[in-house]
Each structure stands twice: as structure tokens, then as C-alpha cells.
């Protein structure tokens, strides 16, 4: 009995040892090839820090061979996977509120526009309210038709004062130049210059993520790859996957228009790997459009983040402090592609955007006019802000709304209504769950403790400023340490020093 058992153990042990030796040997040969198989100096090209701007690589054989050693890829596993990622949500028309409030400055756009209307004027949806002749990106358009009842400072959702135009809604009509027919226009009869000018004069820069186009159009940055982000990998679903189901063709045409504007031919629509239905639908449609393709991407939180999406698709990493445009990548959300389609082919400036409201895990999407107050949408679902908290943004990163009369801007896409559960934070038990959850492989627990001791050098060493504030660490922390707010604080601490 014992002899047999010892024999079995012996052989299994032998097998283990052999496996380990082979593994080490394989690693050694791989790393040996890495060092010897390349021409001297090419290692440097792979370092993102020594690579100020994207340059197309020299296409010779040695370079091509080492281009994608899959083993070297950044591990994107270990981040959060939510079951609720896959679900259908209704998309409704929100209708017209009584008043809309349109802020006079776009976030992320530095140029300021000058008012072209005054109090008492009648405006139509899609007409100019404020204009900057040099930088049309900063232009402000009316989202409804009505009478301007005031141009004054209002308080935004978080209590800050912003100047805004207040319009009393009177009619449901648009500027006559806007094509309101539901037909899909498939031809693009414009040149590159015309397209760029149309996009610049459309007000779509108020949408989240669209501001990255500004540098390309004004600064002449070269783009080599366009990625349309169609992934909603967040705990509660958003609008993108829904839009891809319902307006896939418009988004594809939008991508094609953007292709033409950037002078490229390789737009990719990133689609949630857990939604094969969308992939089938969209890739069926893209077959008719040259230069637009689909790619199914892993859906974990936060894979919808620009930099991580690029890494998932191309394997390239974006260094901290740099933008995807520096590397020749342009990532735009699906709703931006849709807005581009409407702006270029339907002459429609950005008047509407999509808001998803979530209550107790049940989501409803609305197509609403820009500047609609938060409580107008809440009333639609008969929610009252008194009983619970209203959160603007993602459930893991969003902020609580202090003023529910404040208008929604293009930056907002999610409203959350919840009764927060009381959480008591305890001491760190060093479980390492935040390390596993961090998509950037940072060490949130160490950042938190370095912040508490105000250790600037340690914070720098830990790359605290690289944090993308996704909130994954705070979500998983069993001790309920507010790691997200601590990481945010450490970033501001950096700025102050």
C-alpha cells in the first residue's frame, strides 16, 4: 500500500518538478530572445515615456515580428465584473420641460463664446445663443424653441454658480434648416474640410469625451486610429449598448464621417463581449461600410475608460499625463458618433442627449433636451429627492446632487436614485483586494496610508497621480475605507505641491 502511494507521489512530484523546470526554461529563452533578437535600441521604442508623439513604425521584418508578444500584454483581468452588465432598458422621449437652463461655458473647452441674444428674444431649437468666431467649438446652441426670460447666474447640481441662459419653452419646433425626417442618409456628399467645419459648428463638444476632437481640428494632431466606444461596463447599464441596438446604422455612418474627417480608414466599434446580439447586428451592418469594423472587447469595470479600451484593443498603454491623441488614438463614445451623424448629414446641432435614470437597479433611458432640470426627469418617474439621494454619474464615482433644479449638461449621462446604506469604515486588514481590483495595478491602500502621513515622496513613488478614479478599490474594500475619496485627495495634494 505504502509503496504504491509513495510511487504515485513520487511521479506526481517528478511531473511537477519537470513542469517547473520547463516553465523556467521557457521563460529564460523568451527573455533571451527579447534581448538578442532585436536590433540595438529598438527596446526604447516600446517605452512609452521615450515616445513623445505617435510616429508610424518603420515597417521592416524585425520590427513586425516583435510587435505583439502577447505574453507581454498588460493584464486586464482582476477588475470588477458585474452581472448586471447585460440587460435591455427602455429608451423614452422625455418631452419638453417648462424651462431649460443652458450654461454659457462648455466644460473642457477653454475658449469663451460671446452672447448673440438678449433677454426677451425668441429663439428656435438649434439656433445660436452664443458664438466664438475663432473657436466655434465653444458655441452654444438653443436646445428648445421659446423665449429667453433671463441671462443670469444659476447654481449647478453641486452648488457652484454658473452663468446660463434661461429659456421658457413655447413651441416644439426646430430651425428650418434641420432635417427632421427619420430617413437614414447613407451618402456623405461633403469634403473633409466641410465635414470638419460642420462638426466644429455643431455644439457637440459639450458631450462627454467629444472635447478630445478639439485639438485634432485646431492643432492639427494626426490621428491614426478611431475607436467608437460602445461599451457600458458599469454596475448599472447606460445608454451606449442601447443606442447600438436601436441606432446602429447612424452610429456606423457617424464613424464613417469621422473617418473622413481624420483622413483614416480604420474606425473600430468596440462592443461588449457579453452582448453577442449587438455584435451580430452591428457587424452585419458594417459589412456595407468600408473602413468601419467591430471588435468585441472584455466587459469589466472600468473597461469603458478610454485608455483601458485602447489597451484592450491594441495592447498599447497610455502613460500618465498623456492623452490617447498623443499616440494617434481617438476614442469617442457612441453617442458622439450619433451626434456627428446628425450634425453633418441632418444639419442638426446638439440639442438632445441621453440620460439613464436608475432606481433600485431598474434603469430607464430618456432622450432629453440639453439644459433640462434634473427634477423634471425625476418627476417623470415619480421620484422625489426627499426620500433618497440623487447621484449624478456612475454609481461608483458619481457625486450627490445638491440642487435638484439644476440643469443637465452634455457631460451627464446617468442619474441614480438610491437610499444609501450606512457603511462603517474600519481599519485596513491588508487583504489586498484593492490591489486586485485596481485596473492600473496601483496600490490604493498604500496611497491612503501615504496620504494620511502626508508623504509626498511615497505618493509619487506609488504613482498616486495616475489614478483614474474608477472607484473599484473602494467598492471591494471589506473594511469600507473610502479609498476613492482618499485617492482623489492625494491627487489634489499633488496639484498643491
Amino acid at each position: 500500500m505504502n509503496t504504491i502511494l509513495t510511487g504515485v507521489l513520487f511521479f506526481s512530484g517528478l511531473a511537477l518538478t519537470v513542469t517547473v523546470i520547463l516553465h523556467i526554461a521557457a521563460q529564460k529563452t523568451a527573455s533571451g530572445q527579447k534581448n538578442t533578437g532585436r536590433p540595438a535600441g529598438t527596446n526604447k521604442i516600446r517605452l512609452d515615456d521615450d515616445f513623445p508623439d505617435y510616429r508610424p513604425r518603420v515597417q521592416n521584418k524585425t520590427q513586425k515580428r516583435k510587435k505583439s508578444p502577447s505574453r507581454k500584454r498588460f493584464s486586464l483581468s482582476g477588475s470588477l465584473h458585474f452581472n448586471s452588465l447585460v440587460s435591455e432598458i427602455p429608451l423614452l422621449e422625455a418631452g419638453l420641460p417648462e424651462y431649460v437652463y443652458i450654461p454659457l461655458k462648455l466644460p473642457h473647452i477653454n475658449a469663451l463664446p460671446r452672447l448673440t441674444v438678449k433677454k426677451g428674444d425668441k429663439v428656435r431649437a438649434g439656433s445660436l445663443l452664443a458664438q466664438n468666431k475663432k473657436y466655434p467649438e465653444a458655441d452654444i446652441y438653443a436646445s428648445v424653441s421659446g423665449k429667453i426670460t433671463g441671462i443670469e447666474n444659476i447654481s449647478d447640481a453641486f452648488g457652484a454658480e454658473i452663468p446660463a441662459v434661461i429659456i421658457k419653452v413655447e413651441k416644439d419646433d426646430f430651425e428650418p434648416s434641420i432635417d427632421l425626417s427619420p430617413d437614414i442618409i447613407r451618402e456623405i456628399p461633403y469634403s473633409e474640410k466641410e465635414i470638419i467645419s460642420k462638426i466644429r459648428h455643431s455644439g457637440i463638444f459639450s458631450l462627454a469625451g467629444a472635447e478630445s476632437m478639439e485639438n485634432v481640428f485646431t492643432g492639427g494632431q494626426k490621428i491614426s486610429r478611431l475607436i467608437i466606444n460602445g461599451i457600458d461596463a458599469e454596475p448599472f447599464p447606460g445608454i451606449r449598448e442601447n443606442l447600438l441596438c436601436k441606432k446602429a446604422e447612424q452610429i456606423i455612418i457617424g464613424a464613417k464621417i469621422l473617418n473622413k474627417a481624420f483622413g483614416i480608414q480604420n474606425a473600430l466599434i468596440a462592443i461588449n463581449r457579453k452582448r453577442p446580439d449587438i455584435l451580430k447586428l452591428v457587424s452585419g451592418l458594417t459589412r456595407r461600410y468600408v473602413g468601419v469594423n467591430t471588435r468585441s472587447c472584455p466587459a469589466y469595470y472600468p473597461s469603458g475608460q478610454k485608455n483601458l479600451l485602447i489597451t484592450a484593443i491594441t495592447g498599447r498603454e497610455i502613460s500618465a499625463g498623456r492623452r490617447p491623441e498623443n499616440y494617434g488614438f481617438m476614442v469617442l463614445n457612441a453617442e458622439v458618433a450619433l451626434a456627428v451623424y446628425e450634425a453633418v448629414l441632418k444639419n442638426k446641432p446638439l440639442c438632445e442627449h441621453f440620460i439613464t435614470i436608475n432606481k433600485n437597479g431598474k434603469s430607464t433611458s430618456f432622450c432629453t433636451r440639453l439644459g433640462t432640470p434634473v427634477d423634471f426627469l425625476l418627476k417623470k418617474l415619480s421620484l422625489s429627492p426627499e426620500n433618497g439621494k440623487i447621484i449624478l454619474g456612475n454609481v461608483l464615482t458619481g457625486r450627490e446632487v445638491l440642487n435638484s433644479k439644476a440643469p443637465l449638461t452634455g457631460q451627464d449621462s446617468k442619474i441614480l436614485y438610491l437610499v444609501p446604506s450606512e457603511q462603517i469604515s474600519g481599519p485596513c486588514i491588508r487583504c489586498g483586494k484593492c490591489l486586485e481590483a485596481c485596473p492600473l495595478h496601483l496600490q490604493p491602500y498604500a496611497i491612503a496610508s501615504a496620504l494620511q502621513s502626508h508623504d509626498q515622496d511615497r505618493l509619487k513613488q506609488l504613482h498616486a497621480a495616475d489614478c483614474i478614479e474608477c472607484g473599484a478599490c473602494a467598492f471591494v474594500c471589506p473594511a469600507r475605507i473610502p479609498l476613492l475619496s482618499l485617492c482623489r485627495q492625494s491627487k489634489t495634494e499633488f496639484k498643491n505641491n
Binding site: N307, G393, Y445, F475, V476, A479, R480, L484, S485
Partner: protein, 328 residues
Amino acid sequence: MPGAPYIFSPLTTRRIMLQVIIALLPLVAVALAAFGLRALVLVTTAVAGCVTFEYLGARFLLHRPAAASDLSAVVTGLLLALWLPAGFPLWMVLLGCFFAVIVVKTAFGGIGCNLFNPALAALVFLFLSFPGETSACLQPHWFDFFSDNAQKCTPVLEKLKYLSWENLNTSPESYNLAGLPDFGQMLKGTTCGNLGNITFLAVLPGLIWLLAQRIISWQIPFYYLMTFFILVLVHWLINGTLQNDIFIHFFSGSLWLGAVFMATDYTTSPMSARGKIIFASGCGILTGLIRLYGIYPDGVPFAILLMNAFVPLLDKICTPRIYGTPRR
């Protein structure tokens, strides 16, 4: 508490400790079945002692009474009891509880701040202070709850240490000659040992449970057991005697208990995957070296405590590459 996030993973500190307690239940059940009333008294005393000291420490030393509600003291008490032999004097158990909770844990700042595993440190403290009592094991008297004629016996590994039969080979006759159990006896748990290590089978449900609930990562148990196995195997291949017999070393003593419950303690093990691998491999090698060359029969507590001391260093040097930084 300020701001986002507004939802959380269901896992809290308390829940983690609860899962560990669930994973320990099979071991406690086996101990109760094998040692009856003695085990019950020992386990209750250890748990009650640890919880009491935890509360007192949190109330009067840390001024944070809520700190005692996370069930970690129950885990410490259970683990301490499982490493002690049945019939261990109760005042010594209480002394061990005091050492574990107050000296090793609370004095360093409570949960998460201790450098060494409380239960293991207390065990080693008891082991060094009362060597006679800690090694006075009893023969398991299965399903005889009120048995009063339990026989004293010598644990398997201790027997190995006393053997100087270098020239004995691993034939069944030698086992009988040395009074060592065979594999079947080890599975059945009729061998001599502490509450928690009479059969390694009792550890397996807990291991599977903890892995399935993602409480522990697979790296530590796997690399611990693997490096230990390889070390003993190599030793045995070079000079195969009964003293370095693989199967006795691998399945007896508290190797499995240590690899699954002690080395995986969050606070006293590294956080990154690479750190865990180095830590567990170190534990495995040290355990093997102590068992083969040292004077202590079961090297597990010493090996893990020694590696505990390396954890801050491992946490500092074994960090994964941060996204967007140059490849190393």
C-alpha cells in the same frame, strides 16, 4: 462617509471572518468527534478567552469598542485551540489567548496592524514556555464523548525525530517497526496529534470553501505545499530513509492546517500575487528545512512566523508594474 461609491461588494471584514469560521467548522467537528469533551472545553475556553481579551483590549487600550465586533477574535481562538493537544491546561490556554490578542494584536494597534499571526505567536509562546504540556498529545478516542481513559502518545513527527534509524528504508516492515501509521490510518485520523491535525482530510472542505468564496488566493496554499513537497522529495531521492519519508511529512503534522489557515492570514501575508508566491515558497522551504535538519518536529509555526517578518519587505518590493509605466 463622504461621496462615492454608493454600492459596495457584500464582503466586509466581519463576513470574511465568518467565512473563515465556516471553513474551520469541519476541523472543529472532527476534533469534537475525536477528543470529545476535552476538545469542547478547550475550544470554548480559547474562543471565550480571545473574545474577552479582544473586547477588553478594544475598550480600554484602543478606545474603539466597535473593533471587537468583527469576529476576528473567534477565528484566533479557534485556530489557537486547534493547534493545542486535548487536555491542555485551561489556565495556559487563557494565557495563550492573552498573549495572542493583547500582546501580539492589540499592542500593535489592533486588527491589520500586527506583524505576526496572533494564534501562531501565542502557540510558539506556549510551546517555548510549556514544552511538556504542548507536546503531550492524546490518542483520539473517536465518538466516545466522555472517555476518561485517553492514552498519552507521541505525535508521528516527534517519533521521526527520535528515530536514529538512518539505514531503515521505507518498507512496510520498517513502518511497523518504528510504530508509524500508514496512509489509511492517517486518513481515518487514528494517529496521535493535536485537535486540528489528526487528519489532513478535515482541512480540505475548508480549503475548498475559502477558495470558492474567494477569501484566500490559491497561491499561498499551492506554493507552500509544492515547495515543501519538492524539497522533501529531493531530499528523499538523494538519501531515502524513513526520516524523510515524503508521505509521512506531507500528510502529517500541521502542514495543511498551516498552509490553508495560518499562512493565508491577510494581515501577515503579502498582498501582491508575486509576494504571496515568494512568501509561500519561503514557508515551504523553511518548514522542510526545520523538519529535516532542525530540532523541532513540526516546523510549520516557526516557518510561518519567520516569513511573517518578511512581509513588509515583500509588500514593498513585489509590486506589479503600474499601467503606462515602462516595462521592466
